[in-house]
């Protein structure tokens, strides 16, 4: 029963995700794209539930959808392109971009079709939850990721400082562009 349900959800959410992704990429209005992006990320979160990684789904929804997309919307408004009607890229650009995308998709698709992927077990298995992840994050031992944890904190700090310095320079001391 659960497997059947997962098939349904898989195809439903898959379709949803792909549809919204095309909107993000194709829509003329940027704001509409941002909203579509939110939908795509939400759909992915749904996939995580399906795959049994609830914690990750939560994180995804919280950080990605909550934080990142909101930030993007905020900047869209800030740069006054709320109503911006971006003109559709010329046909030539579209073809080239399509070719570039296909150029990636086809080989990977080919590899996936022909190469022997390890067979998988369908029975619902409980992926390790937040407790195991937390334990892994701070474990000093062989399989721990404490160093990565520290580094990511430094990275976020630097991003913060960088963002401030660059953004502030624009706002506070606005010199007329030379």
């Amino acid at each position: 029963m659960a497997v059947a349900m997962s098939t349904v959800f898989f195809y439903l959410l898959g379709a949803l995700a792909l549809f919204f992704a095309t909107i993000v990429v194709g829509s003329k209005r940027i704001f509409r794209g941002a909203v579509a992006l939110m939908a795509v990320l939400a759909a992915t979160a749904g996939f995580y539930f399906l795959l049994g990684a609830e914690f990750l789904a939560g994180i995804q929804l919280l950080v990605y959808v909550g934080g990142v997309v909101v930030l993007i919307v905020f900047v869209v408004m800030l740069t006054g392109s709320l109503g911006l009607m971006e003109d559709t890229p010329s046909f030539g650009r579209q073809v080239v971009a399509g070719l570039g995308a296909l150029n990636f998709f086809l080989p990977v698709f080919g590899v996936l079709q022909f190469s022997a992927l390890p067979e998988i077990s369908h029975e619902a298995v409980a992926l390790p939850g937040a407790d195991v992840i937390g334990e892994l994050l701070l474990n000093f031992g062989k399989s721990g990721y404490v160093m990565a944890f520290e580094l990511i904190s430094v990275l976020l700090l630097v991003a913060l400082i960088g963002g401030l310095v660059i953004a502030r320079k624009g706002g506070q001391r606005r010199e007329e562009p030379t």
Binding site: V25, I120, L156
Partner: protein
């Protein structure tokens, strides 16, 4: 009906194809869109498909461990940092150039 659905459960190949499709669409976005922010959004999609890939592998290849999820976590954090920096640069670029159209912003050529 149920067993037909059960028979057609998504295998690893379907998951991967889905993620690569998302990646491809993101790629199309990067190449086609003119506005910098749209490009950034397309990159977010690609990042997202990569994270999705990780989780799929974690679920099907190494269900015992949670390495995949940990890595996914870190990638999300990095993506966030990237967006922060990106948008900061876009804001200042907009203040100076009054446009975010990537094709216009090409002062440095050959």
């Amino acid at each position: 009906m149920i067993d037909w659905l059960a028979a057609h459960a998504p295998t690893l190949k379907h998951w991967l194809i889905l993620s690569s499709a998302l990646f491809a669409i993101g790629l199309y976005g990067v190449l086609a869109r003119k506005n910098a922010i749209s490009v950034l959004m397309s990159i977010e999609i690609m990042l997202n498909s990569a994270v999705f890939n990780l989780i799929v592998f974690n679920r099907y290849i190494a269900p015992k461990g949670a390495d995949g999820q940990v890595f996914a976590l870190f990638v999300i954090a990095v993506a966030a940092a990237e967006v922060v920096v990106g948008l900061a640069i876009f804001v200042t670029l907009f203040n100076r150039r009054k446009t975010l159209d990537v094709t216009q912003v090409a002062a440095m050529k050959d």
